[in-house]
Amino acid sequence: MEHTQLQQIARTVRQDIIRQVYCAGSGHPGGSLSAADLLTALYFSEMRIDPAMPDMAGRDRFVLSKGHAAPALYACLAERGYFPKEELVTLRKSGSRLQGHPSMKMLPGVEMSTGSLGQGISAAVGMALAGRLDGDSGRVYTLLGDGELQEGIVWEAAMAAGHYKLDNLCAIVDHNGLQIDGRNEDVMNVMPIAEKFAVFGWNVLEIDGHDFEQILDALEMARKCKGMPTVIVAETVKGKGVSFMEGQAGWHGKAPNEEQAKQAMAELGGEL
């Protein structure tokens, strides 16, 4: 797929993120917007998946370790055809399959229930081990937040992935620099991220997480890397695409009001 097409899909994904969070009246726009390009690349270019057969043998699997970016995941799954797009506006509502954080028991295409930070990458390590045991060619992808790296289990999982040389595993860090209480470096410094993963035995790639050429190149390099897992540390902007949300920790977990949602949609080339 051409990069311009991916950019167009990512714009739609961002519009759907705003629409979902606005309709829900709560949710996490900032970290969903920062991850939109990464998820678009995975779901519309990189991963071998079939929405008609969500349980297809040998498929690639994606685990949203930063489960609060659920609106970004749901937007991609709906756009890809896993469920009707009309359902997106039910996010966080009673009776909806679109839980505040993803539930694999409820929604096709969700490979792992997540939301409690750090657990997604741990499950992804287990999935990669299972894939190796079965001689399954499917790859396992997981997306983490940078604040999430403060969870101890992330490094337990990173150690295990390095130890077992899981080259069918690719972690991506959505490095937007911000978390609920502010900047990572003020709350609890997570830097240097690349060096930490490197000493845990990972192949490390550093890219601009909003540049499709770099994202797709990195995913290809990850696929070709043998004997170790790969982590892609993607520099991103929290709230990317909506001027008043960009770089603002305050938009981590807050829904826009009607006026803000309209402005955001206009900036993204859409309508509320």
Binding site: V125, G126, I153, H163
Partner: protein, 309 residues
């Protein structure tokens, strides 16, 4: 004198048999494979054994990932670290997803002995029982442990199985059938019912003998499944005997006693007494000394029955 076997040894043996029967079984441990006996499996099936290192939280996360990919996973550590350290991963990654993981937690209770309070988990039944969809098993001896571990392997979904460090008497004859959720009446009696779980079943049988000598006939029930609790058998005990004494090598808060009380108070209120650890931490000592110190002997059950009559 009955033969004594630790239920963790039963686990090691059952795992090797299960490994031969089912190539889909995978075993995880957190650097305690010699103690938990998963090493027995690892020695025969090294490709299907993964050591997580001293990282119980990640072990449970990996177990979830393996299970949602179709594996039947056995994950082991000491009860303290399996149920305590990794509690939230068990809740969110294993139970919430309905993952087919069997958490086989050894070294439960005060009979861990000399290691002391940090390693003596008397809260695990309580912790695991509160998790929706979790099956909780606590076998009494070698025969029931092996039977229940195999039943757990055949069952689809998360199961917590409590196992011990110390060798305990074999109560049942080889091959006796055990069914998850079906308590086993091991002695008849109408004066009082002793509902016991785990290694306390043996103490309960001894207590029943002591009481019989005084003309008090007790029913003894092995409640090997804490959840789902065998409601019918509990209600029958309340109605037939009029009083129930529960016995567990676990805190009296949240374990078997609480589960039984929750049931009888709604469906068949009766007098009750609970034998268990009284809201306190353990300490170092020999298992038998600690059983005495924490009020977990047959004599303590006798006292509790008399207080309840």
């Amino acid at each position: 004198m009955a033969e004594k076997i630790a239920t963790r040894a039963s686990y090691g043996k059952a795992l090797v048999e299960l490994g031969a029967e089912d190539p889909n079984i995978v075993v995880l441990d957190a650097d305690l494979s010699g103690s938990t006996q998963t090493k027995k499996f690892a020695d025969v099936y090294p490709d299907r054994f993964f050591n997580a290192g001293i990282a119980e939280a990640n072990m449970m996360g990996m177990a979830a990932g393996l299970a949602v990919s179709g594996k039947t996973v056995f994950a082991s550590s000491f009860a303290m670290f399996a149920s305590g350290r990794a509690y939230e991963i068990i809740r969110n990654s294993i139970a919430y997803t309905g993952a087919n993981v069997k958490i086989c937690a050894t070294h439960a209770g005060v009979t861990v002995g000399e290691d002391g309070a940090s390693h003596q988990c008397v809260e695990d039944l309580s912790l695991m029982r509160t998790i929706p969809g979790m099956t909780v098993l606590n076998p009494a001896d070698d025969v029931s442990a092996r039977a229940l571990i195999k039943a757990a392997a055949a069952y689809k979904g998360p199961v917590y199985i409590r196992l011990g460090r110390a060798a305990v008497p074999v109560i049942y004859e080889e091959g006796k059938p055990f069914e998850i959720g079906k308590a086993l009446r091991v002695r008849e009696g109408k004066d009082a019912a002793i509902l016991a779980t785990g290694i306390m079943v043996n103490e309960a049988l001894q207590a029943a003998n002591m009481l019989a000598a005084e003309g008090i006939e007790c029913r003894v029930v092995d409640v090997h499944t804490i959840k789902p609790l065998d409601r019918e058998e509990v209600i029958a005990a309340a109605k037939d005997c009029g009083c129930i004494v529960t016995a567990e090598e676990h805190s009296v808060i949240g374990g078997l006693g609480s589960a039984v009380a929750e049931t009888v108070c709604k469906e068949a209120p009766c007098r009750m007494a609970m034998v268990g650890v009284q809201d306190t931490f353990g300490q170092s000592g020999k298992p038998a000394e600690l059983m005495e110190q924490y009020g977990l002997t047959a004599a303590d059950i006798v006292k509790a029955v008399k207080s309840c009559l």
